[in-house]
């Protein structure tokens, strides 16, 4: 099963809707509670990051026949200038608006890395590509 979602820059009003849909879909498919929660946490952090920091992009969610969940977040820029810093707990370049929403604590990528079984990110000014895998 594969689903695609478009995400718009600064679309704060809809922030979290994609992650909510992913969680509901996987719950209906009977994924175990712990894995479901880990997928939801990572999806939500990444979706919020995409809305706050990127120029927009798309999210792909896949459930393999073997029960592995794969989340891909691909945006169209402007990229993360220093990935090593971005992966440090507490490092943040979030705007005042993002902080108003309760984000911008510099924990997003750290949280994703913690809950995913496999975490891969690459970034350039043309876009950031994040892929995470989850297995029960």
């Amino acid at each position: 099963m594969i689903k695609h979602y478009d995400v718009l820059k600064d679309d704060y009003e809809n922030a979290g809707k994609v992650s909510s849909d992913i969680k509901r879909t996987l719950k209906q498919l009977g994924l175990d509670t712990k894995t479901l929660r880990n997928v939801a946490i990572a999806a939500y952090e990444a979706e919020i990051n995409m809305i706050i920091h990127s120029l927009g992009g798309d999210i792909t969610f896949e459930l393999s026949d073997e029960g592995e969940v794969i989340l891909c977040f691909d945006d169209i820029g402007p990229g993360i200038p220093n990935l090593d810093l971005a992966l440090q707990p507490g490092w943040s370049t979030a705007s005042a608006k993002a902080r108003e929403l309760g984000f911008g604590a510099g924990m997003g990528l750290v949280n994703m890395k913690r809950v995913a079984n496999d975490f891969h990110i690459e970034s350039s000014p043309q876009g950031t590509h994040l892929k995470m895998r989850f297995s029960s």
Binding site: S20, R37, M107
Partner: protein, 120 residues
């Protein structure tokens, strides 16, 4: 501590609660923050029995509770969610309470009554 006791201790207003059975549900811990990333990073165990205490009355607090399988949000400082936020909570079966106390007072009252003392 059951939710009915939480409401009594905090003199809380119930903004939304669909299932009356939740009033008898047992809670053993709480997490208090206005930073949702901290909640996503630090609520690791007993999620179904943990209250989220926050002054952040926006949709993201409800989405955070949804992702973490939390079933109750306690808004402090008299904050009240709007109708759209209540509808979002409704879709996930999350009960919403509002209290006049500050976050510090809210935590103090619940801790004094025995909530969150998992290692005692």
């Amino acid at each position: 501590m059951i939710l009915k006791d939480v409401i009594k201790i905090l003199d809380a207003d119930v903004i939304y609660s669909e299932d009356p059975a939740i009033l008898e549900k047992e809670y053993i811990d709480a997490f208090a923050s206005d930073l949702m990333s901290d909640a996503l990073a630090l609520i690791l165990d007993h999620n179904e029995a943990t209250l989220l205490i926050t002054g952040l009355a926006n949709t993201q607090a409800i989405r955070t509770a949804e992702m973490l399988d939390l079933s109750v949000i306690v808004y402090v400082r008299g904050k009240i969610p709007n109708e759209e936020q209540i509808q979002t909570a409704k879709m996930s079966g999350i009960a919403l309470l509002s209290v006049k106390h500050t976050m510090f007072q809210t935590c103090g009252l619940l801790y004094e009554a025995g909530l969150g003392r998992l290692n005692d």
